[in-house]
């Protein structure tokens, strides 16, 4: 999910702690924000620290003006073959770089691990803007568009689709030698590992407790962190929940897509509705001037039904209908800005263009329906606990 979604979800669970909300009113305490900060911290760790300290065994940095897809394919295939000769558990990491043509123009290319044919296929695509819109007509000639190279080991690719490399930073791949002799492709190996584990959340919460000597601080940190992990698990790419005990990242529950605007907007809206509910409820203990008893009297279920479920069912139906209607429609976009301030702002735009959504792939195997239902049940259970016990915290 988007950064804001994680942040506001962290704030939401923090507002269940009555002492934090009343403390914010009476003493201008900012402790409530810990929920948001720790709700976003897993991504902060991954994309501001771990991405840089990841080992890079091989770096592929193609020349945007003379792309040689065959060379790229050869390098990748050689790496896979080399890993096939290594000991089980060993991994080599490969960093792909993007090809910048201008302030808002990139040379796109894609990498596909064709398991059936035991080959790597590198395709050079058209130029694309930072937001990923292709400039049709800029595709390379056929003889410079494709590179294919064979590898020897049996490959396990949890992604199963071509990885597009366009703007911002390129992805990294890990090639992991398994006990059964196969080589697994691990997409962006640094992501959703230690920084997205529940154990790390407990460590952070314990540190928070040691500093503050407050179990409420411990609770709000662990709640914010856990909600990040839960929301991410709902996507297509899972987490390494109990690092360092567990070694591998699991696949996600395939319930939502991290970059989907509907789910992000729905989650943010629902969080705001819950925050308002908690504010109204706890304001009553500070002053009757800041509360509307009629809303609290409804109970959370009826309140959420009218404020969240009904409007979003309507929006969802409209969204689905329109998505079906416009499937495959080409966006009305422009390419390549010019010089001057426009060029310098191509990747700024007040911070609206982010690369985080890029980092989610469909990891396989897709979990069973029981696991997926269990995921929703866990989320529901967390909120039931918060609604019931929050007023006493």
């Amino acid at each position: 999910m988007r950064g804001l979604t994680h942040f506001i979800m962290g704030i939401t669970v923090a507002t269940f702690f009555k002492s934090l909300v009343t403390g914010a009113i009476l003493t201008d305490s900012w402790l409530i924000l810990l929920g948001g900060v720790f709700g976003l911290l897993p991504d902060t760790l991954d994309f501001k620290f771990l991405v840089y300290v990841e080992k890079q065994d091989v770096v592929i940095d193609p020349d945007p003006y003379d792309v040689k897809p065959q060379e790229i394919a050869n390098k990748i295939a050689d790496e896979i073959t080399k890993v096939g000769t290594m000991k089980p558990g060993e991994m080599r990491r490969l960093q792909m770089h993007t090809m910048k043509l201008g302030p808002d123009l990139w040379q796109s290319y894609s990498i596909y691990f064709n398991k059936a044919k035991s080959q790597v296929e590198v395709k050079v695509g058209p130029h694309a803007t930072t937001s990923g819109i292709p400039a049709f007509g800029t595709e390379p000639p056929a003889d410079k568009a494709l590179g294919v190279a064979k590898f020897t080991p049996k490959l396990v690719d949890t992604h199963g689709r071509a990885t597009e490399v366009k703007g911002f930073g390129g992805p990294s791949f890990g090639f992991l030698k398994k006990k059964d002799g196969t080589v697994e492709v691990v997409f962006i190996p640094f992501h959703r590992r230690s920084g997205h584990s529940l154990t790390m959340g407990i460590v952070c919460a314990l540190l928070g407790y040691l500093v503050s000597q407050s179990w409420v601080v411990f609770g709000v940190i662990i709640a914010g962190w856990t909600m990040h992990i839960v929301l991410d698990t709902f996507g297509h790419m899972g987490n390494n929940l109990f690092w360092p005990i567990t070694k591998q990242r699991t696949s996600g529950l395939y319930l939502v897509s991290a970059s989907n605007p509907y789910w992000n907007a729905f989650t943010v809206y629902s969080c705001i509705a819950i925050i308002l509910w908690n504010m109204n409820l706890y304001n009553a203990s500070v002053s009757p001037a800041y509360t509307i008893p009629g809303i609290s009297a409804l109970g959370p279920a009826i309140y959420l039904f009218f404020v969240v479920a009904i409007p979003w069912a309507i929006v969802g139906a409209m969204y689905y209908w329109y998505k079906q209607k416009t499937k495959g429609a080409r966006p009305f976009e422009l390419f390549a800005p010019t010089t001057g301030a426009v060029g310098m702002a191509a990747t700024d735009s007040a911070g609206v263009q982010e690369q985080e959504h890029y980092y989610e792939i469909d990891e396989k195997p897709k979990p069973s329906i029981i696991l997926r239902i269990l995921g929703v049940a866990i989320l529901a259970a967390i909120f039931v606990v918060l609604f019931i016990f929050g007023p006493s915290w």
Partner: protein, 435 residues
């Protein structure tokens, strides 16, 4: 009917002022009070003129960022796609898409008007004791959520890559800090002459946003290509719907919350709805801008709410306090009529400027705009204002150089106000020696 006419007069005045780069609604408010003092008239009519001015600023004002490359804090959000369109001969189209986005926001404003006197007072009652942490939360989120823009560091060592990645983040935090220091000074020491103190923020905004953009444009060797003035606009219904709704909610959040500006609200709305693509940014940016400025004015008129937000509302509330529901509906009607009128003016102004700038060197336009901006700042705030503007320009050049968020300047600059709201201002000022 006469009041609607007042609104249209306001649109005409606002349209003339809007095409002057660097003018801000705060200047408008000052000019409005000046008009009222020189030509005393019916206070309610004067309010309609104010409203017309702010509607015109929100709609017609987009031409300055599109054709002149002189954004303010609210248009910096969309100036990038607008200028991109300009350099592809589609500046007129960009302006009109922005205008359509703004009209969409007016439509949503009209749609929520019947329930606004129910919803907003409830919202206000519940959220009032929570403004402080919500505001600080916005700052914390914006500082924490900026991602590195190193585009894949090529450094060989881990430390080297970390350094590359943190160059933009570090610059962003530095910009926040230095802007905060400036905020403490500008808001607590009388730098601008006392008789012009109400314009003291103008040189800051101009220095932060307009001048760096103009200076950067001056290095451009491009000529503006011939502009198409066709009335075919390539914007999908999806972009319209998503852009307008995201912009509206971002703008309304900014209008409702003290200190939060349209740009900040726009970022929140963009993140919440995963806004993507140039047209969505343009629509969302213009919808957010209109909602921020007109929405803040609208909140003053909502029955049972009467929330004073924004410079124009504060200034105009000295002249007239809306009392009745009929006042509110009169204002809503005037907003609707004025918005349509302003949109028609935008079409003519954008078409006229599009024809005028074709073939002209962007460098020459930038130089001309710079002179206008300097003259305006000097005229409104004197030599002292120019000094503040120069300092802010220095700060404003850091974000484009290090590819960090320009919004950090606004956040930093207004941070002293946050501290004031939570009673920490005096302590910090003592430490700084400003108090």
């Amino acid at each position: 009917m006469i009041y609607l006419l007042y609104g249209l007069i306001g649109v005409l005045i606002g349209s003339v002022l809007s095409v002057l780069p660097s003018l801000h609604p705060l200047n408008f408010a000052g000019i409005g009070v000046f008009i009222y003092l020189v030509f005393p008239s019916d206070p309610l009519g004067m309010m309609m003129i104010f409203m017309g001015m702010i509607v015109a600023y929100s709609i017609v004002g987009t031409v300055t960022s599109t054709f002149m490359g002189a954004p303010d804090d609210s248009t910096v959000y969309m100036v990038f796609p607008n200028q991109k369109y300009l350099m592809f001969g589609r500046g007129y189209e960009a302006s009109m898409i922005c205008g359509i986005g703004a009209l969409g926001a007016v439509l949503i404003l009209l749609m929520i008007a019947p329930v606004s006197s129910t919803i907003f007072p409830i919202f206000r009652k519940i959220t009032t004791p929570h403004y402080n942490w919500v505001l600080i939360g916005c700052v914390v989120y914006l500082l924490q959520s900026e991602w590195p823009k190193d585009f894949g560091s090529r450094a060989k060592t881990k430390l080297g890559r970390l350094k590359d990645g943190w160059a933009s983040l570090g610059a962003g935090w530095f910009v926040f800090f230095i802007s905060m220091m400036l905020g403490f000074i500008v808001m607590n020491t009388p730098i601008v002459p006392a008789d012009r103190a109400f314009q003291n923020i103008m040189p800051v905004f101009v220095g932060f946003f307009a001048v760096p953009w103009v200076l950067t444009n001056m290095i451009s060797k491009a000529d503006i290509p011939p502009q198409s003035v066709s009335n075919r606009f390539f914007v999908s219904k999806k972009d319209m719907l998503r852009g307008t709704s995201a912009g509206f909610f971002g703008g309304m959040f900014a209008a409702y919350e003290p200190i939060i500006t349209a740009g900040v609200g726009g970022v929140f709305a963009g993140h919440a709805t995963s806004t993507q693509g140039d047209t969505q940014f343009m629509v969302s940016g213009s919808a957010g801008r209109l909602t921020y400025y007109v929405g803040a004015f609208f909140l003053l008129w909502v029955p049972l709410l009467h929330l004073t937000r924004g410079g124009m509302a504060w200034t105009s509330s000295l002249i007239y306090q809306p009392r009745t529901e009929s006042d509110f509906w009169l204002m809503m009607s005037a907003i609707a009529v004025s918005a349509v009128f302003a949109f028609i003016i935008l079409a003519f102004v954008a078409r006229f400027i599009a024809k005028m700038v074709a073939g002209v060197s962007f460098k020459k336009i930038s130089i001309a705009v710079l002179f206008v901006v300097l003259a305006m700042v000097f005229g409104f705030t004197g030599f002292e204002g120019l000094v503040i503007m120069a300092i802010c320009t220095g700060i404003g050049l850091i974000p484009p150089m290090f590819r960090t968020r320009r919004l950090n300047m606004l956040l930093g600059f207004f941070f002293p106000v946050f501290l004031n709201m939570i009673g920490m201002r005096a302590d910090v000022l003592k430490v700084l020696g400003v108090y």
